[in-house]
């Protein structure tokens, strides 16, 4: 009997794992192909075979069973990548400790989030599902592909994407944990530095004690016990080993500079700053250390630490040699990242290729997935968006979005209601008749699930 149960369990497990990722074959005919890394190719076809780009050229014949899309007069570009998102997440902040490195957003993915479809309708094929900014060292994040349509959260995870973790500096961690919150360190930017240095130092000790144990445990006559296993310290150790990319919520130049120094001291090289509104003030330092920046196109003044900002941030960073991306951190904004990227042409005169890189190959680099996605090259994933109009034009309209060679958005054919699961009890008669509210950007996605610590609902501008 026991055996039967085990076999049954195994079968269920295997059938679950065996849920193959859907990979399709699509031939996109005769478009203006914006490859990002290899220039613009007019009247060119792109063939995606079994989920991968297999050919870019003229007059490609359609393989049997391929879906053919006529892109004549349209623009074809790689799927857009959002390096800062909270889509498809059931929880955003584990706000009960200043160091929550043990938690992982991969544990609470919500495949039913219709926000993913809406992002796909704006050409976004990949997003970085991030932990919030309540803690100096937050939780681990998950890079997801918007394979909307599945009910299996595992299918969303981008296979092979490097591990990433959220850090946060400045107002958010200090007010969640300091005197206006839980009453513990950090209450200031001094405390934030201390919390991070302490965690790194403890992680280093932890790693060294394990290294020592592992090196000596097989030696003859060894009698010591293994060190105590600690998931939080395991994660910190992995950061120190360079296995996890830090993505740090930050705004002010001083705090950005602080983390640059801390990372230098601990030999950490893989560092991306998020939001980083004052990154332009320390652009030479960021470039010198090879740190990257993921910014808003024009958000500012929603809190004091972004009062001294400029919409020229992305342009200044780019001109100073910092690998820069434009992100959304917002379920609405993510739908028009192509428009956000175009703002860098108004604010700083970036070229088409530079502007488009901000939402394709650059965020791919920041997530460590640039060998797979972020440009249209043979061998890369078949993640493609087709636009009516140039994607940097305000009149641009995405018409098709393709992920792994599977059409996930078809402007003409998709029905209005794209929910996967409809709660029959949920009334459909809902309104939110508040001026400047959910309809617009509410700037507090990053602080979701941290409200209880302050005893009040956050004001609407708390990113």
């Amino acid at each position: 009997m026991k055996k039967l149960i085990i076999i049954a369990c195994l079968l269920i497990a295997v059938s679950g794992m065996a849920q193959q990722l859907e990979r399709g074959t699509v031939l996109i005919k005769n478009g203006t192909v914006l490859t990002i890394t290899q220039g613009v190719k007019e009247n060119t076809d792109v063939l995606i075979k079994d989920g991968k780009i297999s050919q870019i050229g003229k007059n490609i014949a359609a393989p049997a069973g391929a879906r053919v899309i006529d892109a004549t007069g349209h623009h074809v570009m790689p799927g857009i990548i959002d390096a800062h998102s909270h889509l498809a997440l059931d929880a955003v902040n584990e706000a009960t400790t200043p160091v929550s490195a043990m938690v992982w957003e991969g544990d609470d993915l919500d495949p039913l989030d219709v926000g993913m479809y809406r992002a796909v309708a704006g050409g976004v094929t990949i997003s970085h599902a991030m932990h919030g900014s309540a803690n100096a060292i937050g939780g681990q994040c998950q890079t997801i592909k918007h394979r909307y349509g599945t009910v299996d959260p595992r299918v969303l995870m981008m296979e092979g994407a490097p591990r990433t973790i959220k850090f946060a500096l400045g107002e958010n961690p200090t007010r969640v944990h300091g005197n206006n919150g839980a009453g513990i360190v950090p209450n200031t930017r001094m405390g934030v530095e201390f919390v991070i240095r302490q965690a790194f130092s403890e992680g280093k000790e932890y790693m060294e004690s394990w290294n020592k144990y592992n090196a000596s445990k097989n030696q003859k006559g060894f009698r010591g016990a293994p060190p105590k296993y600690d998931l939080r310290m395991e994660t910190i150790a992995a950061i120190l080993r360079g296995e996890i990319i830090i993505h740090c919520h930050s705004y002010r130049a001083d705090e950005i500079y602080m983390l640059l120094k801390v990372c230098k001291d601990f030999g950490i090289k893989r560092l991306v700053f998020q939001h980083v509104n004052e990154g332009f003030k320390v652009a030479p330092e960021l470039a010198a250390q090879g740190a990257m920046a993921s910014v808003f196109a024009d958000w500012w003044a929603y809190k004091f630490e972004v009062y001294y900002s400029t919409a020229y941030n992305a342009a200044i960073l780019t001109r100073n040699g910092v690998v820069t991306s434009i992100n959304s951190d917002d379920a609405e904004l993510t739908r028009h990242l192509y428009h956000e990227a175009a703002k860098t042409q108004k604010y700083g005169g970036l070229t088409d290729e530079e502007a488009l890189s901000l939402i394709t190959i650059n965020p791919a680099k920041q997530l460590g997935i640039e060998s797979r996605v972020g440009s249209l090259e043979v061998g890369k994933d078949g993640d493609v968006v087709i636009f009516k109009g140039h994607p940097l034009s305000v009149y641009a309209v995405p018409t098709f979005t393709i992920i792994d060679g599977v059409v996930k958005f078809d402007r003409e054919k998709d029905p209005d209601d794209m929910r996967l699961y409809v709660d029959p009890k949920q009334t459909i008669d809902m309104t939110d008749a508040v001026f400047e509210d959910e309809s617009s950007h509410n700037h507090d996605e990053c602080m979701k699930n941290a409200e209880f610590l302050l005893g009040v609902k956050f004001a609407d501008q708390n990113r």
Binding site: A301, E332, A342, V394
Partner: protein, 432 residues
């Protein structure tokens, strides 16, 4: 030789001072060789606009410049009337999360006497950031309870609220919501019904009292009424002299509001928001009230609605015959009005109507079309010069005139760009 050097130094100093001067400049300006989209009287190519004493004094083909006028060659440039945002909090809030800098919500549910204009900070850092984008005029509105106060139309140049005031005020009324407010709203259907009936009763009570107040005030020529600030603020409303800005968004609520307006025989009403206006566009058109819609760059109001409904909403209402102006509902990023209009244009409104929706239509809705909203002789000189289609993201606004003042094209954002594009010192302090 010395003289020449002095002259050069003098000129350089002058140019430097000019480049950095944050002051506006008043006078007579002749903008030549431009493509002029007048909005109301077609497009003039290779045309001239003359601005003098705060007014537009000439619009037409090339002409000779008046004496003493400053001539600005606008070859390859486009001229527009200043753009108007039909709903913002600009000037009322400086730093979003800091309550001490937010002045749009006073305590009380029925406080129409609270004047947004009073709290407008003419020196807000947000204002230059906005106006260099071509937005010259905004409605700035209070927010909060059922009657949160009186909104005001302002031009974005001046050192006192009165210098900025653009001759329109409207009493904001948040129409009671009859439905569930979202998934988080756990009230029973009965509770929702009771709450909405209570709110409607309150709304009607205020109007009933205002009617009484009006009768007393009229009968006694103002002498027989005691000081009653909220009723005094409502006088203009019941007399039809002051506009009601009726904020209403859900389809069902819009229908209720139209019914209520009819019952109370209200005439001077502007609907604002109307996120679900597209659902009941025919009804709004039939009732004949104009709408200030937006933000356009927004999510659909319901999970099951098509992803692009907020983009398409202005176009769908316009198609049904509704008069539509646009708003951003923004504070620090009112500058994105042009992009809201661009998206509305792309998703059904069309470029021509989108341009009207941020120029002449809001001017008409707010009763100031004799002064604002188009490039016509006699109007206030709110003029924008761009180096391309102003809706296009990469287009730059190169000149802005407000009330005839030439606005310096600087803001915190441009100043930081100038300082930090090539920071000095760089990484090494002893090197340039």
């Amino acid at each position: 030789m010395k003289k020449i050097i002095y002259l050069i130094l003098f000129v350089c100093a002058g140019v430097a001072a000019l480049a950095q001067s944050p002051k506006g400049k008043y006078g007579t300006f002749v903008l030549t060789n431009a493509t002029i989209e007048t909005v109301t009287k077609g497009t003039i190519t290779n045309g001239t606009v003359i601005i003098s004493n705060g007014k537009i004094t000439y619009v037409g083909a090339a002409t000779t410049a008046p004496q003493g006028a400053e001539v600005i060659d606008c070859k390859g440039k486009w001229i527009y009337p200043g753009f108007i945002d039909g709903g913002t909090n600009l000037g009322l809030s400086e730093v979003g999360s800091d309550q001490r800098t937010r002045d749009m919500s006073e305590i009380g549910d029925v406080i129409p006497q609270m004047q947004a204009l009073t709290a407008v900070n003419p020196n807000s850092v947000l204002i230059p950031v906005t106006r260099v984008s071509g937005v010259t005029t905004v409605l700035t509105a209070p927010d909060g309870g059922m009657f949160p106060g009186t909104a005001a139309l302002i031009n974005l140049h001046g050192y006192t609220p009165d210098q900025m005031y653009a001759n329109f005020k409207g009493v904001v009324v948040n129409f009671p919501s009859t439905g569930r407010r979202g998934g988080f709203d756990r009230r029973t259907d009965d509770e929702i019904k009771t709450a909405s009936e209570k709110a409607m009763k309150k709304l009607n009570d205020v109007f009933d009292r205002a009617s009484q107040y009006h009768k007393l005030d009229s009968a006694t020529k103002g002498k027989g009424v005691e000081y009653y600030p909220e009723m005094e603020a409502m006088l203009g409303v019941v007399r039809g002299e002051r506009t009601i800005l009726l904020e209403v968004n859900a389809a069902k609520d819009i229908l209720e509001a139209l019914k209520w307006i009819k019952e109370r025989k209200l005439k001077n009403v502007v609907l604002t928001g109307c996120r679900e206006g597209w659902r009941v566009a025919g009804d709004i058109a039939k009732a004949g009230f104009p709408v200030v819609a937006g933000p356009v760059l927004a999510l659909p109001s319901r999970e099951y609605d098509r992803y692009d409904k907020a983009y398409a909403n202005p176009g769908l209402m316009k198609k049904a015959g509704v008069k539509v102006a646009l708003r951003t509902s923004e504070t620090e990023n009112v500058r994105n009005l042009l992009f809201n209009a661009g998206f509305a244009a792309a998703y059904g409104l069309g470029r021509e109507e989108a341009l009207k929706a941020i120029t002449i239509v809001p001017a008409e809705i707010f009763g100031v079309s004799d002064k604002l909203g188009s490039v016509e002789v006699g109007k206030t000189a709110n003029i924008v010069v761009s180096d391309g289609d102003p809706f296009e993201t990469k287009t730059n606004i190169v000149h802005v005139f407000i009330d005839g003042w030439q606005i310096p094209m600087v803001s915190r954002h441009t100043q930081l760009y100038d300082e930090f594009l090539k920071r000095e010192p760089g990484v090494n302090k002893s090197q340039k």
